[in-house]
C-alpha cells in the first residue's frame, strides 16, 4: 500500500519535470478540455436534470405536510444540488466516463509502444500526455458543476410545476430563501478536487498498464473503482473541512 502511494506521488512529481514548451501544453490543454469537458456536457446535463426532478418529487412525497410550507421543496432541492449532487454525484458519473477513457487511452498507448515512442524522442511522456488532462479536468469540472447546479434546479422546477407539486412562485421563493452563496464555493472546490483525483488516479492506472487488451480493461475498471472511492473519501474530508 505504501509503495503504491509512493509510486503515485512519484508519478505526480514526474508530471512537472522535463516539461515541454507552453505552446505544446496549450494545444494539448484545449484538446483535452474538449474531450473531458465539452464531450461530457450531454451526460452531465441528462443526469443533473433528472436528479433535480427526482429530488423534487421525492422531497415532496416524504417531507411536505400541512405544517411545512411547499417552498421547502425547492429549498432542499437547491441545497442538495449545490452541496452534494452537482459535485459528488456528477463526479462519480464522470469517473466512469472520463476515468475509464483516460485509463483505456493511456493503457493502449502503453501496450502498443506509443509511450515508448515518445520517450525515445526525449519527450517526458507522463508530462506531455497526463498534465494537460489533469489541468483540463480541474478547469472544466467546476464549469460542469455550475451547469449541473443550474440544470438540476431547473429539472426540479419543471417536475414541481408541471406536476402541480408547487407553483412557479413557490419554487422561485424557495430557491431564494436562506440562500448561502458560500455553498457555491463548496461545490466548485469539490469539483476542482474531484477532477484532480479522477484524472491522476486514472492516468496512473493507465500509464502503468502491463500486458495486453485484458490488462487495459482491468486498468480501466480499477481506475473507475479507485476514483469513486477517492471521491467519496475526499467528499467526507472536504465536508468536514469546508463546513465543519
Amino acid at each position: 500500500m505504501l509503495s503504491i502511494a509512493g509510486n503515485f506521488f512519484l508519478f505526480l512529481g514526474s508530471l512537472l519535470t522535463r516539461r515541454e514548451t507552453f505552446k505544446v501544453y496549450w494545444e494539448r490543454f484545449i484538446d483535452e478540455c474538449v474531450k473531458i469537458g465539452i464531450n461530457s456536457v450531454f451526460i452531465v446535463s441528462i443526469v443533473a436534470f433528472f436528479i433535480g426532478a427526482v429530488t423534487c418529487v421525492q422531497i415532496y412525497a416524504n417531507l411536505v405536510s400541512p405544517f411545512i410550507p411547499n417552498y421547502i421543496v425547492s429549498n432542499v432541492v437547491r441545497d442538495m444540488m449545490l452541496l452534494e449532487l452537482s459535485s459528488t454525484f456528477m463526479c462519480v458519473v464522470l469517473a466512469g466516463k472520463v476515468g475509464s477513457n483516460i485509463a483505456g487511452e493511456l493503457g493502449t498507448m502503453r501496450i502498443t509502444e506509443q509511450i515508448d515512442a515518445l520517450e525515445v524522442m526525449g519527450i517526458n511522456a507522463s508530462s506531455y500526455l497526463v498534465l494537460p488532462k489533469v489541468l483540463a479536468a480541474m478547469v472544466t469540472f467546476p464549469l460542469l458543476a455550475i451547469l449541473s447546479d443550474f440544470l438540476g434546479i431547473y429539472g426540479g422546477y419543471l417536475a414541481g410545476t408541471l406536476t402541480g407539486i408547487l407553483t412557479s412562485e413557490e419554487y422561485i421563493y424557495g430557491i431564494r430563501t436562506s440562500f448561502v452563496p458560500y455553498n457555491i464555493i463548496i461545490a466548485l472546490v469539490k469539483a476542482f478536487v474531484f477532477g484532480f483525483l479522477i484524472t491522476t488516479i486514472s492516468a496512473y492506472k493507465g500509464y502503468h498498464t502491463k500486458g495486453g487488451a485484458l490488462e487495459v480493461g482491468q486498468a480501466s475498471t480499477t481506475a473507475v473503482t479507485n476514483s469513486c472511492i477517492a471521491i467519496l473519501v475526499a467528499d467526507y474530508l472536504l465536508a468536514q473541512l469546508l463546513t465543519g
Binding site: T112, E113, E119, G122
Partner: protein, 248 residues
C-alpha cells in the same frame, strides 16, 4: 557507431541478458537475431534506455548514454530513429501528423519546412498522398512504412528496427527489408535490426549477432552464418524449411 559493453539485465530475479558486448558499424545494417524469448527486444530497450540494465554501457559514437540525466541524453536521442514492432503510430493523429510529430516537438522549423520534409519522407517510403489517412485506415505494411518515415524524418544517425517484418506477408516483408537497407546506405546510419526472420538475415545482414538464452553465441556476416556450425545457431538457422532442404 554504437558500442554495447557488458549489458546485463534481469527481471524478478530471472537473468535475461548475460553481459552482451558488440559493435554496430556506421553505414551497415546490423542484425540481432535469435529465437523468441532470447532477450533481443530487451537488449534493444536497454540500448534505447527504455529498460535500465543492471550493468553495462552503451556508447553512441563515443558518447556514454546510460546512467546520464535525461536532459543530457537529449542530444543522443535527437539522433535516434526507432521503428517499433507494431509501428507505434499515434492513433489520434493522421499519417502526416505522425511523421511531422518529431519535427514539431524537437525542432524550430517553419510550417513550410516541416511540410516539405514530411512529404519528402513519405515519398521516400512510397506513401505519397496518404498523409490524411488515420493509422486505423492503413494496412500493416503501410504502418511500418509510416513508422520508418517517422524514424527518418529527423535525419537520424542511428536507426533501430524492432522486428520490422513481423506480421507481414513475405513480399511486403522483403520490401520493408529492402527499404531499411536502402535508407541505411542513403542516410549512412548505424542501423540495428531485431529479427528472427532468416530472409532478412541473408538479404540485408552486414553484421549479425546471434543470441541464445540471453548470451551472445556468435557474430559474423550473412556469408559466414551458413558455414558456421554451432549447435544453437544451426538449430535456429536451419529451422527454416528452405535452408534445411538446401543443406540436404
Amino acid at each position: 557507431m554504437i558500442e554495447i559493453k557488458n549489458i546485463s539485465k534481469s527481471f524478478n530475479g530471472r537473468q535475461i541478458l548475460f553481459g552482451i558486448d558488440g559493435v554496430f558499424e556506421k553505414g551497415k545494417t546490423s542484425l540481432v537475431i535469435g529465437a523468441s524469448g532470447t532477450g533481443k527486444s530487451v537488449l534493444l530497450k536497454c540500448m534505447l534506455d527504455l529498460v535500465k540494465p543492471e550493468e553495462g554501457q552503451v556508447l553512441y559514437d563515443g558518447r556514454r548514454f546510460l546512467l546520464q540525466e535525461e536532459e543530457d541524453k537529449k542530444d543522443v536521442r535527437r539522433d535516434m530513429g526507432v521503428l517499433f514492432q507494431g509501428g507505434a503510430l499515434f492513433d489520434s493523429k493522421t499519417v502526416y501528423e505522425n511523421v511531422e510529430f518529431p519535427l514539431k516537438m524537437l525542432t524550430t522549423m517553419s510550417e513550410s519546412e516541416k511540410r516539405d520534409r514530411v512529404e519528402l519522407c513519405l515519398q521516400r517510403v512510397g506513401l505519397e498522398g496518404t498523409g490524411k489517412l488515420m493509422p486505423s485506415e492503413v494496412s500493416g505494411g503501410m504502418k511500418k512504412r509510416v513508422g520508418i518515415a517517422r524514424a527518418i524524418v529527423m535525419n537520424p544517425k542511428y536507426l533501430f528496427c524492432d522486428e520490422p517484418n513481423s506480421g507481414l506477408d513475405p513480399l511486403t516483408a522483403i520490401k520493408i527489408d529492402e527499404l531499411i537497407k536502402e535508407i541505411t546506405e542513403e542516410y549512412n546510419t548505424t542501423t540495428v535490426v531485431i529479427t528472427h526472420d532468416m530472409n532478412s538475415v541473408l538479404s540485408i545482414g552486414d553484421y549479425i549477432m546471434f543470441l541464445n538464452k540471453g548470451k551472445k553465441i556468435w557474430e559474423g556476416d550473412s556469408q559466414s552464418i551458413l558455414k558456421t556450425h554451432i549447435q544453437e545457431l544451426d538449430e535456429f538457422v536451419f529451422s527454416n524449411h528452405a535452408l534445411r532442404q538446401l543443406r540436404g
